[in-house]
């Protein structure tokens, strides 16, 4: 078992000896094989690993989108549900950012940042009011009324971050959020995520291949063959 220790607060994320295996034809794939990982509130952790190492599976386990075969995923000290009413509530508290932004191209940046809030029964007007400060926070106050289709890739990713944060999440999970960006934009987005995590005391788990992340996050780990290792392999950062 590989454990990555960290102080876990009342709003922290903790994975304890989590196992998730798949069957691919006749072959057993050990996507996550006894991983333990803890993120304290405000802590930003980057997760590196080669393709197929199980990073996205780990992220889905953390979000409660997958049930582990063994072990526990805890949030706030309570098991993360994978179905039912508590699971629905949890989805309002856990924000996920993906490489694909899933923005609606005809809607403005502000409306895109507001959409997630509609799930909680708010009106669009209220949602816009809540989302606008986050749009300012990611530096897009002047582009708020611009259709998403007319924004640059970096701006779109920032809208996606604003959308993820507008609902005031208690856990932020990001899967390759900078994969489609150039290095300058990547660094900008990564720094933004770290700042948000620190400032709002939100644990942030960041799955990435981006070498720049290691310089800005609090901790970095490597997932290889389903097992978690401390630090980052230099080959994964393109340094070797």
């Amino acid at each position: 078992m590989t454990a990555a220790a960290a102080p876990v607060g009342s709003a922290g994320l903790e994975l304890r000896d989590v196992v998730k295996h798949y069957r691919a034809g006749t072959e057993l794939v050990r996507a996550v094989d006894g991983v333990s990982l803890a993120l304290a509130p405000g802590e930003v952790v980057a997760l590196y690993g080669p393709s197929g190492a199980g990073k996205t599976t780990l992220l889905q386990l953390a979000a409660g989108l997958l049930a582990p075969d063994a072990g526990e995923v805890l949030f706030d000290g309570r098991p993360v549900p994978t179905s039912g009413e508590r699971h629905d509530r949890l989805r309002h508290e856990v924000s996920v950012i993906l490489q694909a932004t899933h923005l609606a191209p005809r809607e403005s940046a502000l409306d895109n940042a507001s959409v997630r809030l509609l799930a909680t029964g708010r009106s669009f007007r209220e949602a816009r009011r809540l989302a606008r400060p986050w749009l300012e926070r990611v530096g897009l106050e002047e582009r708020a009324d611009q259709p998403a289709g007319q924004l640059s890739m970096g701006e779109r990713q920032r809208v996606a971050i604003a959308r993820a944060l507008a609902s005031d999440p208690r856990l932020l999970l990001a899967d390759e959020p900078t994969a489609a960006l150039d290095s300058a934009r990547s660094r900008e987005i990564l720094q933004l995520l770290v700042d948000v995590g620190h400032h709002h005391r939100i644990p942030v788990l960041l799955v990435t291949h981006d070498p720049a992340a290691v310089d800005v996050v609090d901790r970095a780990h490597t997932l290889r063959d389903g097992s978690l290792l401390d630090g980052v392999d230099a080959t994964l950062l393109g340094l070797a």
Partner: protein
């Protein structure tokens, strides 16, 4: 050796790529194919419905008249003396002169009743070498043994050879033995026609027309046709007609033409809708094809190679789907289409077989393939851009964006198309068919702008609404603009077609109902032979029956109505001879020119007629001019007092005074008794009393005006059956197309729905959102299609009045539009409810799988 290539692509590679694409998106391809199939089924179905029934009549005429070139025909059902045939035989140049008597009757057997035209013939008929009568000569078919019936007619009434059936003929009931039943193996397409054949002498006895015949078919000596014709004209004088032997075909063509024209209009609109439905089914896959093109370009494929792969895909998909569509069309045709219009069956003996022609199959398949190819190649517009990656780099679903400039251009093109359609219809009414087709295209062109404006307005209106999925639904619709617009287009086309066609049909029905209401309200009770006819069958009254009826306490007055069909040039006219005492002489609702009071006075006074517009146009007659009408007594000169619609009889009608009719037709036999009742007399009881006074004969029918009006209403609806069939086919196809389009759109939503799940939306919210999106898009399409459909309806009704002479006053069918939209929405939402619920239950982790 290298295998051959097409534009640098090996056929095996084309096939491989196609298989790869189908395997990657089996659901999408299947739904697209189903959408094309529905469109093709509609095209094929309307082509079948549009097949003129005159083709089937051609068989009958050819099989009877054989090598006869000319005929001498009587001008009324009373016929002419049989001795005329001998005079004709003596005319120089005549080789054969074959007498025929034709009488309308109702055949009653143990299994049912059926109106038939009984043909009285002699064995000499076989000498004409008709295709189906060669065996009827001496020693051939046993004509002397009674009625010869087509097997289909025999089965319909339960008749067996050697058994007796009853013939209701001329107001009397006669028993007659069935001699032979002939199947299609013997008489081909004659089987199924409403005819019966009897020896001439037997029919003369049965019909009480001793020594009378209807026509003489004439075969001339070679090269002596003109001489024979001159001789025949001398025999005919001004009381009989000399025409080509197959003249009846031309009469039928004239009679069927208005129906063919109106069916043609409906068919053209429906076929266009079918074509566009197929087109839109493929349009739903455009985003996916755009992504495909972008990927191929990024892999280094040349533009021409990409076009080739898309073309290959389109041809394979188009051919397979169109083949399926034709099969579906055959099933629908067999289910929906049956007999020919009854209103023609009593004036012409017509068969009931459908015309499933190779031409219809080819046109339908070509339409389906063409729609598939055009829609499939639309994404190749992306090849103009030097940056293939831009399609993939768009936010949201790749390929779903529609540029505002494109929307604006399409809207302007749509408005221009509507203007063009209007100009065409106004300046050249015969081109109204093209206007209807253009309007369908304009509907599509306007949808993107309508979609953009309406969703913007809706988003603004919903900004303050809480706990509703509507705001999300609007965002989602706009996020997949191409797909939403394609679905709205399908709905718009469906509603456009249904509204335009149902509206025009309703106008026709309303016009005919008013016409027949006016026509029949001139009496409280009608006594007729009771067939599905236009009161044209004369009958003999039992001795003393008229006096008995007049003495009945409920009866106030009895009048003899007369009428018939008269062949004038290429028109078989409906002659209406009203007693001068009738409440009305001209149906007020059908008057097109003339003053009703003045026309009524002139008709009552005699020497005047009201004629249909078509007759007035043919003869270039105006009010006050003289109509020369060939009658059994010679050429009648009658003053035109009024011009009417065609009164529901396509070739047109002539209304005159019954006294004039008796004079010119030399006939006192009524075709109806019109009976007025005392105030407060019970009509049903009075009808029974009148029938008893007639000896309770089944050969005569007593109906109240309301009952007869209902019978005519049924007749007119049956007459417009092809229009109803097309409308029904369109509605079914529209419902299927909308449901398929929604299903196709839904199948493409899975990744997006999964993402929304990740974003915190519940399954219930997403299901409601899917239903709301479907409803909104259907409403948008429905309203747009409804508006252009109403306009199409207006143009179609106007054209029907101008081109066909049918009464078809336009009336705004707002309720019908709402009902059509509601029905389509109900069909579509019911279809989509369960798949939508299943789609909304997509696990959120699916967003990580695509």
């Amino acid at each position: 050796m290298r295998s051959p290539t097409i534009l640098g692509v090996r056929p095996t590679v084309l096939l491989g790529l196609y298989r790869w694409r189908v395997r990657a998106h089996p659901g999408k391809e299947l739904l697209a194919a189903a959408g094309v199939a529905v469109g093709v089924a509609l095209i094929f179905g309307v082509l079948v419905a549009n097949t003129s029934m005159t083709r089937s009549a051609g068989d009958l005429v050819r099989s009877i008249v054989g090598s006869a070139q000319l005929q001498l025909a009587a001008r009324s059902t009373d016929g002419m003396p049989a001795g005329v045939a001998d005079q004709v035989a003596a005319v120089p140049g005549v080789r054969n002169a074959v007498p025929v008597l034709r009488v309308q009757a109702t055949l009653v057997g143990p299994g049912g009743r059926r109106p038939v035209q009984v043909m009285g013939v002699t064995p000499a008929l076989a000498e004409l070498d008709g295709t189906r009568t060669q065996g009827w000569g001496r020693g051939g078919l046993p004509l002397a043994q009674g009625l010869t019936l087509p097997a289909t007619v025999g089965r319909a009434v339960g008749a067996e050879p050697g058994e007796h059936v009853r013939l209701l003929i001329g107001g009397e009931e006669r028993a007659v033995v069935v001699g032979t039943l002939l199947g299609s193996d013997t008489i081909g397409t004659l089987d199924g026609m409403p005819i019966a054949v009897a020896p001439l002498a037997l029919l003369q006895v049965l019909a009480g027309m001793s020594d009378r015949i209807s026509q003489v078919l004439v075969q001339t000596d070679p090269d002596r046709l003109a001489e024979a014709r001159r001789g025949l004209e001398r025999v005919a004088g001004d009381r009989l007609d000399v025409t080509a032997a197959d003249h009846e075909l031309r009469l039928l063509e004239t009679t069927a033409r208005p129906n063919d024209l109106s069916t043609g209009l409906f068919a053209a609109i429906s076929a266009m809708v079918g074509f566009l439905l197929a087109f839109n089914a493929i349009l739903l896959t455009v985003p996916e094809r755009r992504r495909w093109i972008a990927e191929l370009r990024m892999q280094g494929w040349a533009a021409r190679q990409i076009v080739l792969t898309l073309l290959f895909d389109a041809l394979v998909l188009g051919l397979l789907a169109s083949g399926l569509g034709v099969l579906l069309g055959i099933v629908l045709s067999r289910t929906l289409f049956d007999a020919v219009p009854a209103y023609l069956a009593f004036a012409f003996p017509l068969g009931t077989q459908q015309m499933l022609t190779a031409g219809a199959v080819l046109v339908a398949i070509a339409g389906g393939v063409l729609a598939t190819v055009i829609a499939s190649l639309l994404p190749t517009l992306d090849l103009r851009s030097p940056r293939p990656d831009l399609v993939l780099a768009q936010p949201g679903e790749a390929g779903e964006a529609l540029r505002p400039a494109v929307t604006k251009t399409l809207a302007l093109a749509g408005l221009a198309t509507i203007a063009l359609a209007t100009l065409l219809a106004m300046l050249a009414p015969p081109l109204t068919v093209a206007s209807g087709v253009l309007l369908a295209a304009a509907t599509l062109l306007l949808i993107p702008a309508a979609f953009d404006i309406s969703t913007r307005l809706l988003a603004r209106a919903l900004a303050g609404v809480r706990r509703s999925v509507l705001p999300l639904a609007v965002v989602e619709l706009r996020a997949a603009a191409t797909r939403s617009i394609a679905v709205a287009c399908v709905a718009a086309l469906a509603v456009y077609g249904c509204v335009a066609i149902q509206g025009a049909r309703s106008d026709l029905i309303r016009g005919l109902d008013r016409n027949f209401g006016d026509y029949l309200e001139t009496a409280d009770l009608w006594v007729t032979t009771g067939g599905d006819d236009l009161t044209t069958n004369s009958f003999r009254l039992p001795a003393g029956a008229l006096a008995t009826i007049e003495r009945l306490p409920q009866v106030r007055s009895v009048r003899r109505y007369q009428g018939g069909l008269l062949d004038v040039e290429d028109r078989r006219l409906w002659v209406i001879a009203r007693p001068a005492e009738d409440r009305a002489m001209v149906p007020a609702s059908q008057l097109l020119a003339g003053d009703l009071t003045a026309a009524t006075d002139q008709l009552r006074a005699g020497g005047a007629v009201a004629i249909s517009q078509a007759i007035a146009d043919d003869r270039q007659l105006a009010l006050g001019d003289t109509l020369e009408l060939p009658t059994p007594a010679g050429i009648a000169h009658l003053r035109v007092a009024a011009v009417t619609t065609n009164l529901g009889w396509p070739p047109g009608a002539v209304i005159l005074n019954a006294t004039d009719y008796r004079h010119w037709w030399r006939s006192h036999a009524p075709t109806a008794l019109q009976i007025d009742l005392q105030p407060r007399a019970d009509r049903a009881l009075a009808a029974r009393a009148v029938h008893a006074a007639l000896g309770d004969t089944p050969a005569l029918r007593v109906q109240t005006a309301a009952e007869r009006t209902a019978q005519y209403a049924s007749l007119s609806r049956q007459g417009l059956r092809s229009l109803q069939q097309i409308a029904t086919l369109l509605l079914i196809a529209a419902g299927l197309a909308v449901a398929l389009a929604l299903a196709a759109a839904l199948s493409q939503r899975r990744p997006r729905l999964a993402w929304l799940k990740v974003d915190g939306f519940s399954s219930g919210q997403l299901w409601r959102s899917v239903l709301a999106e479907s409803t909104l898009v259907l409403l948008l399409g429905g309203v747009a299609g409804g508006l252009t459909g109403l306009y199409g309806h207006l143009l179609a009704s106007r054209w029907l009045q101008i081109a066909t002479g049918f009464p078809a006053p336009f009336s705004l069918g707002g309720l019908e539009v709402a009902a059509t939209v509601g029905l389509l929405a109900a069909i579509a939402l019911t279809t989509i409810a369960i798949p939508g619920w299943l789609a909304a239950r997509v696990p959120p982790r699916a967003t990580f799988q695509g």
